[in-house]
């Protein structure tokens, strides 16, 4: 049992629970908008950045602008200046689930020592290359394997991972359809 020591995963659960209560009482403050901008560099290389977002009823900002290069590897006849866009989806999923595990563990008073994950997504290029119209462009599936060292039983760790999936935004985005509207100005 882990009763006496203080559990610290670096997650401020009180603040999260406070935010949950506050946003339940003021649903309009819970309306967020996440944004990114992207510019083509050359070839398949592009550079995206994120900085501003909207939430709690007003404009917000990260403490700095974050930039991301995306490209494709040399076997696609590209210059490999960054991760592929689909790899960014894996990055998003992994980091979302991992953040969720930390938050849920803190709430359940479970001390984490390490949380590592490996993600693998299958893709049949016959889709994006237009070779077979029955094959989808996207992933055929995503496999995530977690290795977690924590002060908890195997069942408690499994429950952490399960709950983080249920609360994860990116898990929801990749498992459920989303309307996407693209316009040209």
């Amino acid at each position: 049992m882990k009763m006496t020591t203080t559990v610290d995963n670096g997650v401020n659960v009180e603040a999260l629970l406070g935010a949950r209560q506050a946003l339940t009482d003021t649903p309009e403050a819970a309306q967020f908008k996440w944004r990114a901008t992207c510019s083509w560099v050359r070839g398949t290389h592009s550079r995206s950045s994120v900085e501003k977002f909207f939430g709690l009823g007003s404009e917000q900002s990260h403490k700095t602008e974050f930039k991301y290069d995306a490209d494709h590897p040399a076997i696609f006849a590209s210059e490999d200046m960054g991760a592929t866009p689909v790899e960014y989806v894996l990055v998003g999923l992994a980091s979302c689930l991992t953040a969720g595990i930390a938050a849920v563990a803190q709430n359940r008073k479970i001390q984490l020592r390490s949380v590592k994950s490996t993600l693998e997504a299958g893709m049949d290029l016959a889709g994006i290359l237009g070779i077979d119209s029955d094959v989808r462009n996207g992933f055929s599936g995503i496999k995530v394997i977690f290795e977690i060292d924590a002060d908890a039983t195997r069942e408690e760790i499994n429950a952490l991972v399960a709950q983080s999936q249920r609360r994860s935004a990116v898990f929801d985005i990749v498992t459920n359809p989303t309307n996407v509207t693209v316009e040209v100005r």
């Binding site: 499994n158 429950a159 999936q165 249920r166 459920n176 359809p177």
Partner: protein, 432 residues
């Protein structure tokens, strides 16, 4: 009790109007009679109406007969471990009405309930009632919830709610998509698959529960562990607790889970999340939902085993664990309704109470009744809702404790002076 007033049109006066002559409305009537409080029970149809007219044919209670009881009244048949069907429940409730000598105004549909100063006005199709208090005991299952995306179903597919469904014989021979994996969804999937039709079951969050564990009915364990008596003010997340779907049980001496449906040939898919043309889209989170339900079941059984040791319970059978829920390596995330020959979609997506006649500002932004353990507003009470005061509140045997709590409060409320009632209403308005 006497009928107050005459049958001519107009407005009668009484202390309390109880809306609904199901088990909880009748139990409240018995309480009020025992405290010599003048009241009327209004019933849109006949006693136990929903049990007579709004249930599928094979439905049986999820609670065994030994558990089915009302204040001073219990099952006295020769099958305590059996499960009542709808007609049995209707008869049980009707006999209770006779036992307590209830006077019920049947065929009396409430059109509106409003407050005018110190009094409530209850309007029915026949006449009105002025009263000091209203008890809404019209059931938690008034409206079968159907998600908005049902409107996008192709016209060629028949759409049925769990209230409309009666038996497999009334369906055509085409395949059936059942949306929802609570007790309702599983029971319908089970009998429709057994009738030879192709069944696809859309599974979201669900509660897996065996019928028996270590030789005892699961309701025995839930009672012994104090889970059914858990109070609404003692749970961490009440909003969530009230939303939990009914456990995967059937009123029969057998367990019913997703594995038994898979064995019957039912195809499991994730939660229904979209309908575009003929294509139904399902969540890719099915594996996680099943893993979660398996984990929760194991935790519950761990708790029962610990309870057996702690209380030295006389149980000869040892602990057992159930096979993990089997899910395809790649469950389908899209189905073409036409290609799969799905002719009917059945929405087993839950129920909510019907308060469309209640003209008072007592609803939250999602249109749900706001209440604190059944107290809605001064003089206005609810009964029989999910986890209203206790986890068992929506069960037949849950009425006894809730009626005692709310009935005691109601008797005290009627004795209060007009001045103290006015201040209670002020506090309510100020949100105190």
């Amino acid at each position: 009790m006497s009928r107050n007033g005459t049958s001519r049109p107009g407005t009668g006066t009484t202390d309390v109007v109880v809306i609904g002559a199901g088990h909880s409305g009748l139990a409240m009537s018995a309480w009020l009679s025992a405290h010599s409080i003048d009241h009327v029970v209004l019933e849109r149809g006949e006693i136990a109406n929903a049990w007579r007219h709004e249930r599928w044919d094979s439905l049986r209670l999820l609670t065994p007969n030994w558990q089915t009881r009302l204040p001073d009244y219990r099952y006295d048949g020769d099958d305590p471990d059996g499960f009542m069907g709808s007609a049995d429940v209707a008869q049980f409730i009707s006999r209770y009405a006779g036992f307590i000598g209830a006077t019920v105004r049947t065929g009396t549909t409430v059109r509106s309930v409003t407050r005018h100063g110190d009094m409530f006005h209850v309007c029915t199709e026949q006449r009105g009632w002025r009263c000091q208090a209203v008890v809404m005991a019209n059931g938690a299952h008034g409206i079968a919830q159907v998600p908005a995306l049902a409107a996008k179903l192709p016209a060629s597919v028949r759409s049925l709610s769990a209230k409309d469904y009666r038996n497999p014989g009334r369906l055509d021979d085409a395949g059936v998509l059942i949306v929802g994996a609570s007790a309702t969804g599983l029971q319908l999937a089970d009998e429709i698959a057994a009738s030879g039709r192709e069944v696809t079951l859309a599974v979201g969050e669900h509660i897996r529960m065996p019928r028996t564990y270590r030789g005892r009915d699961i309701q025995w364990w839930l009672t012994a562990a104090g889970i059914l008596d858990q109070r609404f003010d003692q749970v961490d997340d009440l909003v969530r607790a009230r939303r939990i779907p009914s456990p995967q049980l059937i009123g029969a001496p057998r367990s019913l889970d997703l594995n038994s449906l898979t064995a019957r040939g039912v195809q499991l898919v994730g939660r229904l999340v979209g309908l575009e043309g003929n294509t139904a889209q399902f969540s890719g989170a099915l594996r996680n939902e099943c893993a979660m339900a398996d984990l929760k079941l194991a935790r519950m059984l761990d708790g029962f085993d610990a309870l057996a040791v702690r209380q030295a319970l006389d149980i000869s059978a040892g602990p057992e664990r159930f096979a993990a829920t089997r899910v395809d390596e790649t469950p389908r995330i899209g189905i073409d309704l036409a290609k799969r020959r799905i002719g009917t979609v059945i929405w087993a997506t839950g129920f909510r109470p019907d308060y469309s006649w209640l003209r008072e500002p007592v609803f939250d932004q999602k249109g749900r009744l706001r209440h604190h353990g059944g107290f809605v507003a001064p003089g206005l009470y609810a009964l029989g809702l999910n986890f209203m005061r206790r986890r068992k509140s929506s069960f037949i045997h849950g009425a006894e404790d809730d009626v005692r709590d709310l009935g005691s409060h109601l008797v005290g409320w009627l004795k209060q002076s007009p001045a103290s009632r006015a201040s209670a209403r002020m506090e309510m308005r100020a949100g105190i």
